[in-house]
């Protein structure tokens, strides 16, 4: 079980080299039809400096999947872990050619009583991605929930 002592711990330092081919593959996977994801000319016409990444693209840094090693670091029982929510704040568009460095850390840990007894644990994990100059590009926040362990009588 995770506890508040984990707040602030750095879990990963993901790196994303944003490539046009990866953007096209990801756009197809999330059923995004726009030409801007596939052509530099269309991207330019839509106001981007290069081919833009879809809104949830930062998950491709492989820091966001539930079988990641950091669930071990968090001491969460994978069998009881749910992905509750995710959010992204965009400081500027992510585009092909970007070289992003991320830091993934535990932003908060708290508990709530489970409906059938026991305790649910909420872990908020924040990843901040910056460009080589250190300017923030995108901040991703994810909440994972470890459901209550109900001991049957």
């Amino acid at each position: 079980v995770a506890d508040a002592s984990l707040i602030g711990r750095v879990l990963a330092t993901p790196h994303i080299r944003v490539e046009a081919g990866k953007i096209e593959e990801f756009a197809r996977a999330v059923h995004a039809p726009e030409a801007a994801y596939r052509s530099k000319e269309a991207a330019s016409a839509a106001g981007f400096d290069d081919i833009p990444a879809p809104p949830t693209f930062s998950v491709t840094s492989a820091h966001a999947s539930p079988n990641d090693v950091f669930f071990d670091l968090l001491d969460l029982d994978l069998g009881r872990v749910l992905h509750g929510s995710s959010s992204w704040t965009y400081h500027r568009p992510v585009v092909a050619g970007d070289d992003l460095s991320g830091e993934t850390r535990v932003a908060n840990v708290y508990t709530k009583p489970g409906r059938q007894g026991g305790e649910m644990t909420f872990v908020e994990i924040e990843s901040t991605f910056v460009d080589p100059s250190g300017a923030p590009v995108v901040t991703e926040r994810m909440v994972v929930i470890e459901t209550a362990l109900v001991v049957s009588a």
């Binding site: 996977a29 801007a36 879809p54 929510s85």
Partner: protein
Amino acid sequence: MSLGPGDQAPELVHDPVTRTDIVRYAGAGGDFNPIHHDEPFAAGLGLPSVFAMGLYQGGILSSFASSWLGLINLRRFELRFAARVWPGETLRCSGVVTSAEDVDGERVVEVDLSVTNADTGEVKVTGRATAAARSTGGDR
């Protein structure tokens, strides 16, 4: 024309979710948890089949929001995962503007979004987006 409170996105109904859709997202997104692609593994856990990762239907919702609001206008996007999506389900995306205000000289709208089962109405994912309202144009 810019968006205002009450404006609704044209609804979008996708083809039924296939295992191929789920595997394509696994490859693109890098989520290789076998519960999403390995049928015997899922059956071993007592599940009726594999199911989609929340970020698959979340990604579909992000595409819907971007087409409606314009990707370049997007400032913030949020997903809350409510229910699993199984192969064969037909998903509907919806969106409505809930508020508009001026922030630092820019007109910004808040939008409520959802993915529901088109047949039963079950809510799969809800979303919120914040976007500049300077145009309604997508990037198509």
